[in-house]
């Protein structure tokens, strides 16, 4: 459990510090420091074992099905990073205590910082590569939160989003790479993967995997050309920069190179990509750093440059270069963290970071200045400081690289140039800030910072010196252990020492220092030269790219989702046409094998009327009234078709529905314009005609293909069991109320819901009530023609009688609850038409909502009733009883179910039609009063 505790403690710390809002700053800091200190203690405790060559592992099961487990491993490399993460983390927390102003929330910063710390610890200690990615992404999230700490600043938000986008994108590439890697090896376990170099490098996926993983590493460690997010991340508070952008997050990318060095390195591809990227970054960063007026900007580019250096070292594919890389990781962390903190102090004390304003700080804060100058010297690679040592090793290793053949001299030369620039910007940092005359309009009067704010810098600078002077004494163990892990269980012979004698690397160093000072003295010309160059602003490019991408997306979306239903429908119909038409072409023969029935006069006339009706509806579609009349012909003919082809129930249903539909359409006609304007172009009409006839032909052909084919279905079962099992002779009805009663239950729900929905639509409906018809004729004066009113009184009881008749016989003969319900509804609608809805409401107050609910409830409870007989839902029951005088009668639960249907239909239909009617009735009442 020890390993798990290290990140866990830091997570705990994050949670604890988030809750210290009510405490004083010191208490909050102390509490926050507690957990990482314990964790650091634990890791120190584990160090001897690791130094002894042991690798400590811990595994917990989490998602075994996906090969993802919680697995930790502590080897030399991990230990090195754990030390760095925790130690610098502790210093940063301590430093932040003094850095943050009263307005800034301390718990929030601490909490985020420690969340970040957790993520970093997780990365370096992962023994499962998916888990590694898990923590990798967590660093992206927590760094987003940290960079946007001052969320009200626009540059903080933008910087955070940029960092998240770039590192997040890299993270996605990394994930892909890791998954591929895992797929090649067959495991996500790091132990297994690290031991599978041959398999991986022989795989056809090796190149892709390598590139994807390197993308992850390069974006995170701000390698050229993904570097540009880093300077903008400087919008974060300085402690955050000190931590994330010098010691940890950017190092995660470096860590990744080190971690996968044993599996991925050693190939030419690795060399070319990694070393060239590193070299480019090294040079580019060093060069740009010189021109930054912002202190943190300078440090940011310096960081980029140093990360390039480390990357280049890893790319060189030699063992000693790797050792040098690891060594430089440590050194860079110490001097860069202290420089950031020093910058923070200067910023804090002067209120600006602009080097053009900040001058002569030596006078105001000599102690801080000394510390900063030592750290800067280390950055420049001045002897007696740690930076010198690793840079010396770096120069040495560049000389050993032969892969470029006759061009091999390029690397050491460029390395020296970069070294010179790094001396130059370090010189600028020292001279321009602490000397160079007097300050220019500083917002604040600077003086030395609080005593304890300097402590972390003191510690780090001390480290720079100790390592620089007694290297082997201080870093040998950890360096050996780390190299051991990176090189895959093998550490090369090396000696870290201050003095190696006069050799080429020393000469290079000398060139770099003198060259650097020369550059700095001649900086005026360089600045002029730089200003004459076309400005390549990476951020602007990024912003512009994003902006044009968004604009492009909006244009595309706007063009596609243009809100035109006709287009949406057209697309859909085309898809339908394709789906239905394509297989049709594959068929050998459209027509099936059954004998055709000859056409008789009855059918011919029916079909003619149907077709004429349909075509007329289309022809007159702009004169809505006429097309409405035409479509009723179609409806009538459809029901005649049903009668013709042995479906009396369908015919009855179609007829009743038809009338209600017509009434509905009449209502629509009243409230909608009565004519359609001519607005389709003839091209449009042609196009529509084309697709509609194509669809018609396709559907017609399918229909023809179907009905001419022999056929077997499950229906014999229904015919055989209707009477014996369902108690009725009308098989269709028995299917509806028994075999498939569940469909019917759903269907009445649909009807009920539709009615509710319609009532909903009508609430607060502002009506357009035309005062005249389409030809401008005012409406007739006679509201309720007397003869109609008179006859409708007679028709109501008659219709109810018919309805009752239809209802009762449904089970055995054509009819049933639905048809009966519609007849009843229509009978009432006739009353509405003849007398108006006020007249009706005076006589009858029905809450249709309750009627619908009762109807569904009856049907539902009939179905539930069977539970009491231990049968599944809707199991029907029927029996025959011999009653004196009356004779044998059949009682069936299906009839009650059908009653439910009946009631729902009546309620829903009346609700649909009457609620609209009542709406206008209210409106017309007022009209009458006027």
């Amino acid at each position: 459990m020890t390993l798990l505790w290290i990140p866990l403690l830091s997570l705990l710390g994050s949670i604890i510090s988030s809750m210290t809002g009510k405490l004083t700053r010191n208490q909050s800091t102390m509490l926050s420091l507690l957990m990482p200190i314990i964790a650091l203690g634990m890791s120190i405790n584990l160090a001897p074992a690791v130094f002894a060559g042991e690798e400590i592992r811990e595994t917990f099961s989490w998602l075994p099905e996906l090969g993802i487990n919680i697995a930790f491993r502590l080897d030399g490399l991990a230990l090195l990073f754990v030390f760095m993460i925790l130690a610098i983390g502790i210093l940063v927390i301590f430093y932040a205590r003094y850095y943050l102003s009263d307005k800034d929330s301390m718990p929030k910063l601490y909490s985020y910082l420690m969340l970040f710390m957790t993520a970093m610890l997780g990365i370096v200690m992962s023994n499962n590569i998916i888990q590694l990615w898990f923590f990798w992404e967590l660093t992206s999230i927590s760094s987003f939160l940290l960079i946007s700490y001052w969320w009200y600043k626009s540059e903080a938000r933008k910087g955070a989003i940029m960092a998240l986008t770039i590192t997040g994108g890299g993270g996605l590439a990394l994930l892909a790479g890791l998954l591929l890697l895992g797929n090649i090896v067959g495991s996500y376990n790091l132990d297994i993967i690290l031991a599978s170099k041959e398999i991986v490098q022989a795989s056809q996926w090796y190149e892709v995997t390598l590139i994807l993983i390197l993308l992850g590493a390069f974006t995170k460690s701000a390698q050229f050309p993904f570097h540009f997010w880093l300077p903008h991340a400087m919008a974060a508070p300085t402690p955050v920069s000190a931590y994330l952008h010098s010691a940890t997050m950017v190092k995660a990318g470096i860590f990744l190179l080190a971690r996968f060095y044993p599996v991925l390195a050693g190939t030419d591809l690795w060399f070319f990509i990694v070393s060239i990227t590193g070299l480019a970054t090294l040079l580019f960063g060093a060069y740009i750093a010189l021109f930054k007026h912002d202190l943190k900007g300078l440090l940011a580019y310096s960081t980029i440059s140093h990360l390039g250096l480390i990357t280049l070292l890893f790319g060189l594919n030699t063992e000693l270069a790797t050792v040098a890389a690891i060594f430089h990781i440590i050194n860079h962390a110490t001097f860069k963290a202290s420089l950031f903190m020093a910058t923070g102090i200067i910023d804090h004390e002067t209120g600006t970071r602009d080097m053009r304003k900040i001058n002569g700080m030596w006078k105001f804060m000599p102690y801080t200045a000394t510390l900063a100058m030592v750290a800067a010297a280390s950055m420049a690679g001045v002897p007696l400081l740690n930076g010198f040592l690793s840079k010396e090793m770096f120069f040495a290793e560049t000389l050993h690289q032969q892969l470029l053949g006759s061009l091999s001299w390029v690397i050491p030369v460029l390395a020296t140039v970069a070294g010179a620039f790094s001396v130059a910007y370090s010189a600028r940092f020292i001279h321009d800030v602490f000397f160079n005359g007097d300050p220019v309009d500083l917002p604040k009067q600077p003086h030395e910072p609080p005593r304890y704010m300097r402590v972390p810098i003191e510690i780090l600078v001390a480290l720079c010196l100790i390592v620089g002077i007694f290297p082997s004494f201080v870093v040998d163990d950890i360096l050996v252990a780390a190299s051991f892990s990176v090189l895959g269980g093998y550490a090369p012979e090396f000696e870290v020492a201050l003095w190696h004698g006069f050799n080429l690397p020393l000469l290079m160093s000398a060139f770099a220092v003198t060259g650097g000072i020369f550059i700095y003295t001649q900086r005026r010309y360089l600045f002029l030269f730089q200003a004459s160059l076309p400005t390549v602003n990476a951020k602007k490019t990024f912003d512009n790219t994003i902006y044009s991408l968004i604009k492009w997306s909006q244009a595309k979306i706007g063009a596609i989702e243009n809100g035109s239903l006709q287009r949406y429908l057209m697309l859909m119909l085309l898809v339908v046409l394709l789906a239905a038409g394509w297989p049709l072409f594959e068929m050998n023969q459209l027509a099936g094998a059954t004998d055709r029935t000859p056409i008789d006069i009855h059918n011919a006339i029916g079909a003619a009327l149907l077709m004429i009706g349909a075509l007329s509806t289309v022809i007159w579609y702009r004169t809505r009234m006429v097309s409405l009349i035409m479509i009723s012909v179609v409806g009538l003919m459809v029901s005649i078709v049903f009668t013709r082809f042995s479906a009396p129930d369908l015919a009855l249903t179609q007829l009743t529905v038809e009338v209600v539909t017509i009434i509905l359409l009449m209502l629509a006609l009243f409230f909608l314009p009565q004519r359609s304007p001519r607005e389709s172009s003839s091209m449009r009409i042609l196009r529509d005609l084309g697709i509609s006839s194509a669809l018609g032909i396709v559907v017609g052909s399918i229909c023809y293909a179907l009905i001419t084919r022999p056929f077997e279905s499950i229906s014999d079962f229904f015919i055989d069991n209707a009477k014996t099992g369902g108690g009725g002779t009308n098989v269709v009805n028995v299917i509806l109320v028994d075999f498939r009663g569940f469909d019917t239950l759903g269907e009445i729900c649909v009807l009920g819901i539709a009615a509710l929905g319609i009532a909903k639509l009508l609430i607060n409906l502002p009506l357009f009530m035309p005062g005249s018809d389409s030809e401008g004729r005012p409406w007739a004066k006679d509201r309720y023609p007397s003869l109609l009113a008179s006859i409708s009184q007679w028709l109501l009881p008659l219709a109810l009688l018919v309805s009752f008749y239809i209802f009762l016989r449904g089970h055995n003969l054509p009819g049933g609850g639905f048809i009966a319900g519609l007849i009843t509804a229509i009978a009432f609608i006739l009353q509405y038409i003849a007398h108006g809805s006020n007249w009706i409401t005076e006589r009858l107050t029905i809450n249709y909502r309750k009627i619908i609910a009762s109807g569904i409830a009856i049907a539902l409870f009939t179905g539930v009733g069977s539970w009491f007989f231990d049968k599944p839902f809707m199991t029907t029951w029927f029996d025959y009883f011999d009653i004196p005088f009356i004779g044998e009668i059949e009682l069936a639960s299906a009839l009650i179910f059908d009653l439910g249907v009946y009631i729902t239909v009546v309620g829903a239909t009346l609700m649909i039609l009457a609620s609209l009617g009542e709406l206008t009735a209210d409106a017309s009442k007022e009209e009458v009063n006027i």
Partner: protein, 178 residues
């Protein structure tokens, strides 16, 4: 003229009888079960629909009513033949026209019956009853009602009016005693 029935529970006896028979006819059966149902229907439906009835004069002279019914049926048959001949004959010889028949009847039901009769019988179709309810001041009764009819072949307007009044309106007046 009488507007109310004798039995509260049987608001419309004539309707009930019609429904009773209609039920039996529909079911094509006079089994005991159907008889029971017919009675139920005959009682329940008028009772349910009673709120929707506007009180109208009742049939007093039942015998006369039946006789009149047969007369009308006979006229319908002859009317059909006459109209068939008119239709099939040359159209140019037809002299259509609108005629306004002044009415003695005042209630809707008898007027409806008259209008229907007119529509079903020789060459005439009821077109309108004047005046409309809407053109009257609220609650006021019209002084004189008219039935507007369209005649397919109008020869003698006054004779037509007389024949309608005498052949159809007068019996109705008597049947309903109004």
């Amino acid at each position: 003229m009488r507007l109310d029935t004798r039995f509260k529970w049987l608001p419309a006896p004539l309707l009930s009888i019609s429904l009773f028979f209609a039920w039996l006819i529909l079911n094509n059966s006079i089994s005991n079960g159907q008889l029971v149902l017919a009675v139920i229907v005959a009682v329940v439906i008028p009772w349910v629909t009673n709120p929707f009835r506007v009180k109208q004069p009742r049939v007093i002279k039942k015998g006369l009513a039946i006789r009149h019914l047969f007369l009308v049926l006979y006229d319908i048959i002859t009317a059909n033949f006459q109209v068939a001949i008119l239709i099939l004959g040359p159209t140019k010889k037809l002299n259509p026209g609108f005629v306004k028949v002044p009415l003695d009847l005042t209630h809707t039901t008898p007027i409806t019956l008259l209008a229907s009769t007119v529509s079903l019988t020789p060459g005439t179709v009821s077109a309108e009853v004047y005046p409309w309810q809407e053109s009257l001041v609220l609650g006021q009764e019209p002084e004189q009602r008219y039935l507007l009819i369209h005649v397919l072949n109008l020869t003698d307007e006054q004779a037509l009016i007389d024949s309608i009044k005498q052949r159809y309106e007068a019996p109705l007046k008597e049947i309903f005693q109004c």
